[in-house]
Subunit: 319 residues, 2 copies
Protein backbone atom coordinates (compact mmCIF):
# COMPACT_ATOMS: atom_id res chain seq x y z
CA UNK A 1 0.00 0.00 0.00
CA UNK A 2 1.29 3.44 -0.93
CA UNK A 3 2.01 5.72 2.04
CA UNK A 4 0.35 8.97 1.04
CA UNK A 5 2.02 10.89 3.81
CA UNK A 6 5.37 10.21 2.12
CA UNK A 7 4.29 11.78 -1.18
CA UNK A 8 5.61 15.21 -2.16
CA UNK A 9 3.62 18.43 -2.46
CA UNK A 10 3.19 20.89 -5.29
CA UNK A 11 4.00 24.31 -3.80
CA UNK A 12 3.30 27.71 -5.32
CA UNK A 13 4.44 31.22 -4.35
CA UNK A 14 2.68 34.14 -6.09
CA UNK A 15 4.18 37.55 -5.47
CA UNK A 16 3.91 40.93 -7.14
CA UNK A 17 6.73 40.47 -9.64
CA UNK A 18 7.13 36.71 -10.00
CA UNK A 19 5.43 33.37 -9.73
CA UNK A 20 7.39 30.41 -8.35
CA UNK A 21 6.45 26.75 -8.18
CA UNK A 22 8.21 23.75 -6.76
CA UNK A 23 7.91 20.13 -5.80
CA UNK A 24 8.69 19.71 -2.09
CA UNK A 25 9.39 16.35 -0.46
CA UNK A 26 7.46 15.18 2.58
CA UNK A 27 10.58 16.08 4.58
CA UNK A 28 10.41 19.70 3.42
CA UNK A 29 13.21 19.63 0.84
CA UNK A 30 12.67 21.53 -2.40
CA UNK A 31 13.24 18.84 -5.06
CA UNK A 32 12.60 21.03 -8.08
CA UNK A 33 11.64 24.67 -8.49
CA UNK A 34 11.21 27.23 -11.21
CA UNK A 35 9.93 30.75 -11.58
CA UNK A 36 8.38 33.11 -14.11
CA UNK A 37 7.79 36.86 -14.16
CA UNK A 38 4.31 38.31 -13.76
CA UNK A 39 5.00 41.07 -16.29
CA UNK A 40 1.96 41.39 -18.49
CA UNK A 41 1.32 42.16 -22.10
CA UNK A 42 -1.35 44.78 -22.82
CA UNK A 43 -3.97 42.13 -23.56
CA UNK A 44 -3.11 39.71 -20.73
CA UNK A 45 -6.07 39.05 -18.48
CA UNK A 46 -6.69 36.81 -15.51
CA UNK A 47 -6.52 33.65 -17.62
CA UNK A 48 -3.16 34.54 -19.16
CA UNK A 49 -1.66 34.69 -15.65
CA UNK A 50 -3.41 31.48 -14.70
CA UNK A 51 -2.10 29.69 -17.79
CA UNK A 52 1.41 30.86 -17.04
CA UNK A 53 1.10 29.52 -13.51
CA UNK A 54 -0.40 26.22 -14.64
CA UNK A 55 2.40 25.71 -17.18
CA UNK A 56 4.97 26.43 -14.47
CA UNK A 57 3.35 23.83 -12.21
CA UNK A 58 3.27 21.23 -14.97
CA UNK A 59 6.93 21.92 -15.77
CA UNK A 60 8.13 21.36 -12.21
CA UNK A 61 6.01 18.19 -11.93
CA UNK A 62 7.54 16.95 -15.20
CA UNK A 63 11.03 17.79 -13.95
CA UNK A 64 10.32 15.85 -10.74
CA UNK A 65 9.22 12.77 -12.75
CA UNK A 66 5.43 13.26 -12.39
CA UNK A 67 5.17 12.00 -8.81
CA UNK A 68 1.81 11.43 -7.15
CA UNK A 69 1.31 14.47 -4.91
CA UNK A 70 -0.47 14.58 -1.57
CA UNK A 71 -1.66 18.15 -2.00
CA UNK A 72 -1.08 21.67 -3.28
CA UNK A 73 0.08 24.48 -1.01
CA UNK A 74 0.00 28.12 -2.07
CA UNK A 75 1.24 31.43 -0.72
CA UNK A 76 -0.33 34.35 -2.59
CA UNK A 77 -0.28 38.11 -2.23
CA UNK A 78 -3.35 39.49 -0.48
CA UNK A 79 -6.01 40.47 0.05
CA UNK A 80 -7.88 37.22 -0.36
CA UNK A 81 -10.97 35.48 0.91
CA UNK A 82 -9.57 32.81 3.18
CA UNK A 83 -9.78 29.83 3.29
CA UNK A 84 -11.80 30.03 0.05
CA UNK A 85 -8.66 31.01 -1.85
CA UNK A 86 -10.37 33.73 -3.86
CA UNK A 87 -7.55 36.20 -4.43
CA UNK A 88 -7.10 39.87 -5.42
CA UNK A 89 -3.33 40.47 -5.07
CA UNK A 90 -2.55 44.19 -4.79
CA UNK A 91 0.26 43.92 -7.34
CA UNK A 92 -1.40 41.57 -9.80
CA UNK A 93 -4.20 43.65 -11.23
CA UNK A 94 -5.81 41.14 -13.60
CA UNK A 95 -6.68 38.90 -10.68
CA UNK A 96 -9.65 40.39 -8.88
CA UNK A 97 -11.64 37.83 -6.95
CA UNK A 98 -9.84 35.18 -8.95
CA UNK A 99 -10.89 31.66 -7.79
CA UNK A 100 -7.33 30.39 -7.45
CA UNK A 101 -8.12 27.48 -5.18
CA UNK A 102 -10.93 26.22 -7.40
CA UNK A 103 -8.73 26.47 -10.50
CA UNK A 104 -5.97 24.48 -8.83
CA UNK A 105 -8.46 21.93 -7.51
CA UNK A 106 -9.76 21.38 -11.04
CA UNK A 107 -6.21 20.98 -12.35
CA UNK A 108 -5.06 18.74 -9.47
CA UNK A 109 -8.18 16.89 -8.32
CA UNK A 110 -8.60 14.59 -5.31
CA UNK A 111 -5.96 16.29 -3.13
CA UNK A 112 -6.29 19.24 -0.74
CA UNK A 113 -5.44 22.69 -2.13
CA UNK A 114 -4.54 25.20 0.60
CA UNK A 115 -4.10 28.89 -0.17
CA UNK A 116 -2.83 31.42 2.38
CA UNK A 117 -1.14 34.83 2.45
CA UNK A 118 2.37 34.93 0.92
CA UNK A 119 3.93 36.61 3.97
CA UNK A 120 2.33 33.97 6.18
CA UNK A 121 3.91 31.27 4.00
CA UNK A 122 7.36 32.82 4.46
CA UNK A 123 6.88 33.03 8.23
CA UNK A 124 5.62 29.44 8.39
CA UNK A 125 8.75 28.37 6.51
CA UNK A 126 10.96 30.18 9.03
CA UNK A 127 9.10 28.48 11.87
CA UNK A 128 9.06 25.03 10.28
CA UNK A 129 12.56 24.89 8.81
CA UNK A 130 14.32 28.19 9.54
CA UNK A 131 15.22 30.69 12.25
CA UNK A 132 12.14 29.93 14.34
CA UNK A 133 12.45 26.16 14.48
CA UNK A 134 11.31 24.72 17.81
CA UNK A 135 10.04 28.06 19.16
CA UNK A 136 6.45 28.07 20.42
CA UNK A 137 5.67 31.81 20.35
CA UNK A 138 7.07 33.87 17.52
CA UNK A 139 6.25 36.72 15.18
CA UNK A 140 7.71 36.68 11.68
CA UNK A 141 8.01 39.85 9.61
CA UNK A 142 8.73 40.52 5.97
CA UNK A 143 9.94 44.12 5.49
CA UNK A 144 9.88 44.73 1.78
CA UNK A 145 7.63 46.64 -0.65
CA UNK A 146 5.05 46.16 2.09
CA UNK A 147 5.46 45.04 5.69
CA UNK A 148 3.73 41.72 6.27
CA UNK A 149 4.03 38.92 8.74
CA UNK A 150 2.63 35.95 10.53
CA UNK A 151 2.07 34.90 14.10
CA UNK A 152 2.77 31.52 15.68
CA UNK A 153 1.46 31.11 19.24
CA UNK A 154 1.48 27.94 21.29
CA UNK A 155 3.27 26.27 18.38
CA UNK A 156 0.45 26.91 15.93
CA UNK A 157 -0.13 29.41 13.16
CA UNK A 158 -2.70 32.00 14.25
CA UNK A 159 -5.22 32.87 11.53
CA UNK A 160 -7.64 35.23 13.26
CA UNK A 161 -11.16 35.69 12.04
CA UNK A 162 -10.43 35.91 8.31
CA UNK A 163 -6.91 34.55 7.92
CA UNK A 164 -5.42 38.03 8.31
CA UNK A 165 -3.66 37.67 11.65
CA UNK A 166 -0.01 38.72 11.47
CA UNK A 167 -0.48 42.08 9.75
CA UNK A 168 2.24 43.62 11.89
CA UNK A 169 2.71 46.28 9.21
CA UNK A 170 -0.50 47.92 10.38
CA UNK A 171 0.39 48.23 14.02
CA UNK A 172 0.46 51.98 14.76
CA UNK A 173 4.07 53.08 15.29
CA UNK A 174 3.39 56.83 15.30
CA UNK A 175 -0.16 58.18 15.58
CA UNK A 176 0.98 61.48 14.03
CA UNK A 177 3.00 59.73 11.32
CA UNK A 178 2.53 59.59 7.55
CA UNK A 179 -0.65 58.37 5.89
CA UNK A 180 -0.68 54.68 5.11
CA UNK A 181 -1.95 52.96 1.99
CA UNK A 182 -4.57 51.27 4.16
CA UNK A 183 -6.18 54.64 4.91
CA UNK A 184 -4.78 54.82 8.42
CA UNK A 185 -1.87 56.84 9.73
CA UNK A 186 1.55 56.06 11.14
CA UNK A 187 1.38 52.30 10.55
CA UNK A 188 4.73 50.50 10.67
CA UNK A 189 4.32 49.90 6.94
CA UNK A 190 3.74 53.59 6.18
CA UNK A 191 7.18 54.35 7.64
CA UNK A 192 9.25 51.21 7.03
CA UNK A 193 8.25 49.79 3.65
CA UNK A 194 10.90 50.25 0.97
CA UNK A 195 9.06 52.84 -1.12
CA UNK A 196 8.34 54.90 2.01
CA UNK A 197 12.07 54.99 2.79
CA UNK A 198 12.77 56.21 -0.73
CA UNK A 199 10.07 58.88 -0.55
CA UNK A 200 11.36 60.15 2.77
CA UNK A 201 15.02 60.17 1.62
CA UNK A 202 14.16 62.08 -1.54
CA UNK A 203 12.29 64.66 0.50
CA UNK A 204 15.53 65.12 2.44
CA UNK A 205 17.53 65.64 -0.76
CA UNK A 206 18.72 62.15 -1.66
CA UNK A 207 18.96 61.50 -5.46
CA UNK A 208 16.22 64.00 -6.18
CA UNK A 209 16.88 63.90 -9.91
CA UNK A 210 16.89 60.10 -10.14
CA UNK A 211 13.30 59.06 -10.75
CA UNK A 212 14.24 55.40 -10.90
CA UNK A 213 15.94 55.28 -7.49
CA UNK A 214 14.74 52.33 -5.40
CA UNK A 215 15.13 51.01 -1.89
CA UNK A 216 17.98 48.85 -3.21
CA UNK A 217 19.85 51.99 -4.30
CA UNK A 218 19.09 53.54 -0.93
CA UNK A 219 20.55 50.49 0.81
CA UNK A 220 23.68 50.63 -1.35
CA UNK A 221 24.14 54.33 -0.56
CA UNK A 222 23.50 53.72 3.15
CA UNK A 223 26.13 50.99 3.21
CA UNK A 224 28.52 53.40 1.40
CA UNK A 225 27.97 55.94 4.20
CA UNK A 226 25.38 58.36 2.79
CA UNK A 227 23.91 60.15 5.80
CA UNK A 228 20.38 60.63 4.52
CA UNK A 229 20.21 57.02 3.37
CA UNK A 230 21.42 55.80 6.76
CA UNK A 231 18.89 57.99 8.52
CA UNK A 232 16.12 56.53 6.34
CA UNK A 233 16.91 53.01 7.56
CA UNK A 234 17.26 54.31 11.11
CA UNK A 235 13.71 55.71 10.97
CA UNK A 236 12.47 52.41 9.59
CA UNK A 237 14.24 50.43 12.32
CA UNK A 238 12.77 52.73 14.97
CA UNK A 239 9.24 52.16 13.66
CA UNK A 240 9.70 48.40 13.34
CA UNK A 241 11.09 48.28 16.89
CA UNK A 242 7.99 50.03 18.25
CA UNK A 243 5.75 47.64 16.34
CA UNK A 244 7.62 44.66 17.74
CA UNK A 245 7.45 46.08 21.29
CA UNK A 246 3.66 46.32 21.00
CA UNK A 247 3.40 42.80 19.57
CA UNK A 248 5.55 41.37 22.37
CA UNK A 249 3.41 43.07 25.03
CA UNK A 250 0.22 41.69 23.53
CA UNK A 251 1.40 38.18 22.65
CA UNK A 252 4.26 37.43 25.08
CA UNK A 253 6.62 36.36 22.31
CA UNK A 254 10.02 34.77 22.71
CA UNK A 255 11.28 35.39 19.19
CA UNK A 256 10.78 37.77 16.29
CA UNK A 257 12.22 36.79 12.91
CA UNK A 258 12.72 39.64 10.44
CA UNK A 259 13.34 39.15 6.73
CA UNK A 260 12.47 40.80 3.42
CA UNK A 261 14.39 43.05 1.03
CA UNK A 262 14.66 46.05 3.35
CA UNK A 263 16.23 43.85 6.04
CA UNK A 264 19.09 42.91 3.67
CA UNK A 265 20.77 46.18 4.68
CA UNK A 266 21.63 44.45 7.97
CA UNK A 267 22.83 46.39 11.00
CA UNK A 268 21.73 49.75 9.59
CA UNK A 269 18.18 48.51 10.13
CA UNK A 270 18.67 46.06 12.99
CA UNK A 271 20.68 48.33 15.29
CA UNK A 272 18.08 51.13 15.54
CA UNK A 273 15.42 48.43 15.64
CA UNK A 274 17.04 46.85 18.70
CA UNK A 275 17.52 50.25 20.34
CA UNK A 276 13.89 51.20 19.86
CA UNK A 277 12.63 47.77 20.92
CA UNK A 278 14.63 47.88 24.15
CA UNK A 279 13.37 51.42 24.84
CA UNK A 280 9.72 50.45 24.56
CA UNK A 281 9.58 46.76 25.54
CA UNK A 282 10.34 47.28 29.20
CA UNK A 283 7.75 45.25 31.06
CA UNK A 284 9.59 42.35 32.66
CA UNK A 285 8.38 39.45 30.54
CA UNK A 286 9.13 41.37 27.31
CA UNK A 287 12.72 42.34 28.00
CA UNK A 288 14.51 39.28 26.74
CA UNK A 289 12.63 38.78 23.49
CA UNK A 290 15.11 37.88 20.77
CA UNK A 291 15.17 39.36 17.25
CA UNK A 292 16.74 37.12 14.66
CA UNK A 293 17.27 37.57 10.93
CA UNK A 294 15.38 35.27 8.61
CA UNK A 295 17.53 32.32 7.62
CA UNK A 296 15.92 30.90 4.50
CA UNK A 297 16.63 31.86 0.91
CA UNK A 298 14.23 32.85 -1.87
CA UNK A 299 12.62 29.40 -1.69
CA UNK A 300 11.07 30.22 1.70
CA UNK A 301 7.70 31.00 0.13
CA UNK A 302 7.59 27.58 -1.52
CA UNK A 303 8.68 25.74 1.62
CA UNK A 304 6.01 27.51 3.70
CA UNK A 305 3.33 26.83 1.09
CA UNK A 306 4.25 23.15 1.24
CA UNK A 307 3.96 23.22 5.04
CA UNK A 308 0.26 24.13 4.82
CA UNK A 309 -0.15 20.56 3.51
CA UNK A 310 2.80 18.71 5.06
CA UNK A 311 2.40 20.13 8.57
CA UNK A 312 -1.27 21.00 8.54
CA UNK A 313 -1.69 20.16 12.23
CA UNK A 314 0.45 23.22 13.03
CA UNK A 315 -0.18 25.51 10.10
CA UNK A 316 -3.61 24.88 8.64
CA UNK A 317 -6.67 25.30 10.84
CA UNK A 318 -9.43 27.24 9.11
CA UNK A 319 -12.74 27.48 10.91
CA UNK B 1 -20.20 6.24 40.68
CA UNK B 2 -19.85 9.94 41.37
CA UNK B 3 -19.51 12.09 38.25
CA UNK B 4 -16.55 14.33 39.07
CA UNK B 5 -17.22 16.65 36.14
CA UNK B 6 -20.49 17.67 37.83
CA UNK B 7 -18.75 18.79 41.04
CA UNK B 8 -18.35 22.51 41.79
CA UNK B 9 -15.12 24.47 41.90
CA UNK B 10 -13.57 26.66 44.58
CA UNK B 11 -12.77 29.96 42.86
CA UNK B 12 -10.58 32.76 44.17
CA UNK B 13 -10.00 36.33 42.97
CA UNK B 14 -7.10 38.23 44.53
CA UNK B 15 -6.91 41.91 43.69
CA UNK B 16 -5.10 44.90 45.12
CA UNK B 17 -7.77 45.93 47.62
CA UNK B 18 -9.83 42.80 48.19
CA UNK B 19 -9.83 39.03 48.19
CA UNK B 20 -12.93 37.21 46.97
CA UNK B 21 -13.76 33.51 47.04
CA UNK B 22 -16.72 31.56 45.79
CA UNK B 23 -18.10 28.14 45.06
CA UNK B 24 -19.06 27.89 41.39
CA UNK B 25 -21.25 25.12 39.98
CA UNK B 26 -20.11 23.00 37.05
CA UNK B 27 -22.50 25.08 34.93
CA UNK B 28 -20.69 28.31 35.87
CA UNK B 29 -23.18 29.69 38.38
CA UNK B 30 -21.79 31.34 41.52
CA UNK B 31 -23.46 29.38 44.33
CA UNK B 32 -21.84 31.22 47.22
CA UNK B 33 -19.33 34.05 47.41
CA UNK B 34 -17.72 36.28 49.97
CA UNK B 35 -14.97 38.87 50.13
CA UNK B 36 -12.49 40.42 52.52
CA UNK B 37 -10.25 43.50 52.34
CA UNK B 38 -6.50 43.16 51.89
CA UNK B 39 -5.80 46.10 54.21
CA UNK B 40 -2.92 45.17 56.46
CA UNK B 41 -1.94 45.77 60.01
CA UNK B 42 1.64 46.93 60.62
CA UNK B 43 2.78 43.43 61.53
CA UNK B 44 0.86 41.50 58.88
CA UNK B 45 3.14 39.41 56.71
CA UNK B 46 2.64 36.95 53.90
CA UNK B 47 1.09 34.36 56.20
CA UNK B 48 -1.48 36.78 57.62
CA UNK B 49 -2.81 37.36 54.10
CA UNK B 50 -2.71 33.65 53.39
CA UNK B 51 -4.65 32.85 56.56
CA UNK B 52 -7.26 35.44 55.70
CA UNK B 53 -7.63 33.88 52.25
CA UNK B 54 -7.79 30.34 53.63
CA UNK B 55 -10.47 31.32 56.15
CA UNK B 56 -12.48 32.95 53.37
CA UNK B 57 -12.24 29.76 51.29
CA UNK B 58 -13.32 27.60 54.22
CA UNK B 59 -16.24 29.92 54.92
CA UNK B 60 -17.64 29.73 51.39
CA UNK B 61 -17.19 25.95 51.35
CA UNK B 62 -19.07 25.74 54.66
CA UNK B 63 -21.81 28.00 53.31
CA UNK B 64 -22.12 25.74 50.25
CA UNK B 65 -22.49 22.64 52.46
CA UNK B 66 -18.89 21.32 52.12
CA UNK B 67 -19.30 19.87 48.63
CA UNK B 68 -16.59 17.70 47.07
CA UNK B 69 -14.81 20.06 44.64
CA UNK B 70 -13.24 19.13 41.32
CA UNK B 71 -10.55 21.79 41.53
CA UNK B 72 -9.45 25.26 42.60
CA UNK B 73 -9.24 28.15 40.13
CA UNK B 74 -7.50 31.41 40.96
CA UNK B 75 -7.12 34.83 39.38
CA UNK B 76 -4.38 36.83 41.08
CA UNK B 77 -2.71 40.17 40.47
CA UNK B 78 0.63 39.87 38.68
CA UNK B 79 3.43 39.52 38.13
CA UNK B 80 3.63 35.80 38.78
CA UNK B 81 5.57 32.77 37.67
CA UNK B 82 3.08 30.90 35.55
CA UNK B 83 1.90 28.15 35.63
CA UNK B 84 3.84 27.61 38.89
CA UNK B 85 1.51 30.04 40.68
CA UNK B 86 4.31 31.79 42.55
CA UNK B 87 2.92 35.29 42.90
CA UNK B 88 4.20 38.83 43.64
CA UNK B 89 1.13 41.05 43.22
CA UNK B 90 2.11 44.69 42.66
CA UNK B 91 -0.48 45.90 45.17
CA UNK B 92 -0.03 43.20 47.81
CA UNK B 93 3.44 43.87 49.13
CA UNK B 94 3.77 41.06 51.72
CA UNK B 95 3.49 38.49 48.94
CA UNK B 96 6.77 38.35 47.11
CA UNK B 97 7.37 35.03 45.35
CA UNK B 98 4.60 33.63 47.49
CA UNK B 99 3.90 29.97 46.58
CA UNK B 100 0.15 30.43 46.28
CA UNK B 101 -0.51 27.34 44.21
CA UNK B 102 1.47 25.09 46.54
CA UNK B 103 -0.33 26.51 49.58
CA UNK B 104 -3.71 25.90 48.01
CA UNK B 105 -2.67 22.40 46.89
CA UNK B 106 -1.71 21.56 50.45
CA UNK B 107 -5.03 22.89 51.75
CA UNK B 108 -7.12 21.24 49.02
CA UNK B 109 -5.21 18.12 48.01
CA UNK B 110 -5.93 15.69 45.17
CA UNK B 111 -7.55 18.26 42.85
CA UNK B 112 -5.96 20.57 40.28
CA UNK B 113 -5.13 24.12 41.43
CA UNK B 114 -4.82 26.56 38.54
CA UNK B 115 -3.53 30.11 39.06
CA UNK B 116 -3.55 32.76 36.32
CA UNK B 117 -3.51 36.55 36.02
CA UNK B 118 -6.55 38.34 37.47
CA UNK B 119 -7.23 40.36 34.31
CA UNK B 120 -7.04 37.15 32.30
CA UNK B 121 -9.65 35.61 34.62
CA UNK B 122 -12.02 38.53 34.01
CA UNK B 123 -11.56 38.25 30.25
CA UNK B 124 -12.08 34.48 30.34
CA UNK B 125 -15.32 35.07 32.24
CA UNK B 126 -16.51 37.52 29.56
CA UNK B 127 -15.67 34.98 26.88
CA UNK B 128 -17.18 32.01 28.70
CA UNK B 129 -20.34 33.56 30.13
CA UNK B 130 -20.40 37.25 29.15
CA UNK B 131 -20.12 39.70 26.25
CA UNK B 132 -17.76 37.48 24.27
CA UNK B 133 -19.73 34.27 24.37
CA UNK B 134 -19.43 32.26 21.15
CA UNK B 135 -16.81 34.56 19.61
CA UNK B 136 -13.63 32.83 18.41
CA UNK B 137 -11.24 35.82 18.24
CA UNK B 138 -11.48 38.47 20.90
CA UNK B 139 -9.43 40.79 23.07
CA UNK B 140 -10.69 41.65 26.54
CA UNK B 141 -9.48 44.73 28.38
CA UNK B 142 -9.75 45.91 31.96
CA UNK B 143 -9.17 49.68 32.18
CA UNK B 144 -8.77 50.43 35.83
CA UNK B 145 -5.86 51.29 38.15
CA UNK B 146 -3.84 49.50 35.50
CA UNK B 147 -4.78 48.44 31.99
CA UNK B 148 -4.77 44.67 31.66
CA UNK B 149 -6.34 42.15 29.39
CA UNK B 150 -6.46 38.75 27.81
CA UNK B 151 -6.52 37.33 24.33
CA UNK B 152 -8.71 34.55 22.97
CA UNK B 153 -7.79 33.35 19.46
CA UNK B 154 -9.27 30.41 17.62
CA UNK B 155 -11.60 29.95 20.61
CA UNK B 156 -8.74 29.38 23.07
CA UNK B 157 -7.04 31.52 25.66
CA UNK B 158 -3.60 32.58 24.45
CA UNK B 159 -0.91 32.39 27.14
CA UNK B 160 2.28 33.26 25.29
CA UNK B 161 5.65 32.15 26.54
CA UNK B 162 5.16 32.93 30.23
CA UNK B 163 1.41 33.34 30.66
CA UNK B 164 1.67 37.08 30.01
CA UNK B 165 -0.12 37.35 26.68
CA UNK B 166 -2.89 39.96 26.72
CA UNK B 167 -0.91 42.84 28.24
CA UNK B 168 -2.68 45.31 25.94
CA UNK B 169 -1.82 48.07 28.43
CA UNK B 170 1.76 47.97 27.21
CA UNK B 171 1.05 48.41 23.53
CA UNK B 172 2.68 51.71 22.55
CA UNK B 173 -0.04 54.30 21.89
CA UNK B 174 2.27 57.32 21.63
CA UNK B 175 6.05 56.88 21.32
CA UNK B 176 6.56 60.43 22.62
CA UNK B 177 4.01 59.98 25.42
CA UNK B 178 4.43 59.90 29.20
CA UNK B 179 6.72 57.48 30.99
CA UNK B 180 5.09 54.23 32.01
CA UNK B 181 5.47 52.31 35.26
CA UNK B 182 7.02 49.49 33.24
CA UNK B 183 9.97 51.70 32.30
CA UNK B 184 8.76 52.28 28.76
CA UNK B 185 7.05 55.31 27.28
CA UNK B 186 3.62 56.09 25.87
CA UNK B 187 2.09 52.71 26.70
CA UNK B 188 -1.72 52.64 26.66
CA UNK B 189 -1.57 52.16 30.43
CA UNK B 190 0.64 55.23 30.95
CA UNK B 191 -2.09 57.38 29.38
CA UNK B 192 -5.36 55.58 30.16
CA UNK B 193 -5.06 54.10 33.63
CA UNK B 194 -7.17 55.89 36.23
CA UNK B 195 -4.30 57.49 38.19
CA UNK B 196 -2.78 58.78 34.93
CA UNK B 197 -6.06 60.50 34.08
CA UNK B 198 -6.08 62.14 37.49
CA UNK B 199 -2.46 63.26 37.18
CA UNK B 200 -3.09 64.76 33.75
CA UNK B 201 -6.29 66.51 34.83
CA UNK B 202 -4.63 68.05 37.87
CA UNK B 203 -1.80 69.35 35.68
CA UNK B 204 -4.52 71.10 33.66
CA UNK B 205 -6.01 72.69 36.79
CA UNK B 206 -8.65 70.18 37.91
CA UNK B 207 -9.09 69.96 41.74
CA UNK B 208 -5.49 70.99 42.32
CA UNK B 209 -6.07 71.46 46.04
CA UNK B 210 -7.81 68.10 46.52
CA UNK B 211 -5.08 65.58 47.29
CA UNK B 212 -7.57 62.77 47.67
CA UNK B 213 -9.21 63.21 44.26
CA UNK B 214 -9.53 59.92 42.38
CA UNK B 215 -10.53 58.68 38.96
CA UNK B 216 -14.02 58.15 40.37
CA UNK B 217 -14.25 61.86 41.22
CA UNK B 218 -12.91 62.66 37.77
CA UNK B 219 -15.63 60.50 36.21
CA UNK B 220 -18.32 62.21 38.31
CA UNK B 221 -17.04 65.64 37.26
CA UNK B 222 -16.82 64.56 33.62
CA UNK B 223 -20.42 63.32 33.70
CA UNK B 224 -21.40 66.68 35.30
CA UNK B 225 -19.81 68.49 32.35
CA UNK B 226 -16.38 69.55 33.64
CA UNK B 227 -14.30 70.26 30.53
CA UNK B 228 -10.92 69.17 31.83
CA UNK B 229 -12.40 65.97 33.23
CA UNK B 230 -14.09 65.20 29.91
CA UNK B 231 -10.86 65.87 28.04
CA UNK B 232 -9.03 63.47 30.37
CA UNK B 233 -11.35 60.61 29.38
CA UNK B 234 -11.13 61.70 25.74
CA UNK B 235 -7.35 61.34 25.86
CA UNK B 236 -7.72 57.92 27.47
CA UNK B 237 -10.24 56.79 24.86
CA UNK B 238 -7.94 57.98 22.09
CA UNK B 239 -5.03 55.96 23.49
CA UNK B 240 -7.14 52.85 24.05
CA UNK B 241 -8.50 53.14 20.49
CA UNK B 242 -4.97 53.18 19.07
CA UNK B 243 -4.02 50.17 21.17
CA UNK B 244 -7.07 48.29 19.94
CA UNK B 245 -6.32 49.23 16.31
CA UNK B 246 -2.85 47.73 16.66
CA UNK B 247 -4.18 44.60 18.32
CA UNK B 248 -6.79 44.11 15.59
CA UNK B 249 -4.16 44.47 12.86
CA UNK B 250 -1.93 41.89 14.50
CA UNK B 251 -4.56 39.38 15.60
CA UNK B 252 -7.50 39.84 13.17
CA UNK B 253 -10.04 40.15 15.97
CA UNK B 254 -13.79 40.27 15.62
CA UNK B 255 -14.58 41.62 19.08
CA UNK B 256 -13.00 43.71 21.82
CA UNK B 257 -14.68 43.72 25.24
CA UNK B 258 -13.78 46.64 27.50
CA UNK B 259 -14.48 46.74 31.22
CA UNK B 260 -12.92 48.04 34.43
CA UNK B 261 -13.56 51.07 36.62
CA UNK B 262 -12.46 53.70 34.11
CA UNK B 263 -14.91 52.28 31.54
CA UNK B 264 -17.83 52.92 33.90
CA UNK B 265 -17.86 56.51 32.67
CA UNK B 266 -19.46 55.15 29.48
CA UNK B 267 -19.70 57.21 26.31
CA UNK B 268 -17.18 59.78 27.51
CA UNK B 269 -14.59 57.03 27.12
CA UNK B 270 -16.19 54.88 24.42
CA UNK B 271 -16.97 57.66 21.93
CA UNK B 272 -13.40 58.94 21.55
CA UNK B 273 -12.26 55.32 21.68
CA UNK B 274 -14.46 54.46 18.69
CA UNK B 275 -13.36 57.57 16.82
CA UNK B 276 -9.69 56.80 17.30
CA UNK B 277 -10.17 53.11 16.50
CA UNK B 278 -11.95 53.91 13.22
CA UNK B 279 -9.22 56.42 12.31
CA UNK B 280 -6.41 53.93 12.73
CA UNK B 281 -7.99 50.52 12.00
CA UNK B 282 -8.49 51.08 8.29
CA UNK B 283 -7.14 47.98 6.62
CA UNK B 284 -10.13 46.15 5.19
CA UNK B 285 -10.33 43.17 7.53
CA UNK B 286 -10.08 45.41 10.60
CA UNK B 287 -12.84 47.87 9.78
CA UNK B 288 -15.79 46.06 11.23
CA UNK B 289 -14.30 44.97 14.53
CA UNK B 290 -16.89 45.48 17.28
CA UNK B 291 -16.19 47.06 20.68
CA UNK B 292 -18.58 45.94 23.40
CA UNK B 293 -18.79 46.83 27.08
CA UNK B 294 -18.10 44.09 29.58
CA UNK B 295 -21.35 42.51 30.74
CA UNK B 296 -20.51 40.71 33.97
CA UNK B 297 -20.63 42.12 37.48
CA UNK B 298 -18.03 42.07 40.23
CA UNK B 299 -18.16 38.27 40.29
CA UNK B 300 -16.45 38.09 36.88
CA UNK B 301 -13.07 37.33 38.45
CA UNK B 302 -14.51 34.35 40.32
CA UNK B 303 -16.36 33.01 37.27
CA UNK B 304 -13.23 33.23 35.15
CA UNK B 305 -11.11 31.59 37.83
CA UNK B 306 -13.61 28.72 37.90
CA UNK B 307 -13.38 28.41 34.10
CA UNK B 308 -9.67 27.54 34.33
CA UNK B 309 -10.91 24.28 35.88
CA UNK B 310 -14.40 23.87 34.40
CA UNK B 311 -13.46 24.73 30.81
CA UNK B 312 -9.80 23.82 30.84
CA UNK B 313 -9.86 22.65 27.22
CA UNK B 314 -10.39 26.28 26.18
CA UNK B 315 -8.73 28.22 28.97
CA UNK B 316 -5.93 26.20 30.52
CA UNK B 317 -3.06 25.04 28.34
CA UNK B 318 0.32 25.62 29.99
CA UNK B 319 3.34 24.20 28.19
Amino acid sequence: MRDESAAPVLAVDIGGTKIAAGVVSAQGDVLVSDRAPTTLGPDDGDLAIWERLHTLCENVLDAAGRPAIQGVGVGCGGPMRWPAGVVSPVNLLPWRDFPLRDRLSAAYPDVPVRVHNDAVAVVVAEHWRGAGRGVANMLGMVVSTGVGGGLVLGGRLIDGRSGNAGHVGHIVADPTGPECGCGGRGCVEAIARGPALVTWARQQGWRQDDEAATAKHLADDALAGDKIARKAFERAGHAVGIGIASAVALCDLELVVVGGGVSQVGGLLFEPLEQSLRTYARIEFARDVVVRRASLDQNAGIVGAAAFVLAGDQYWAPG
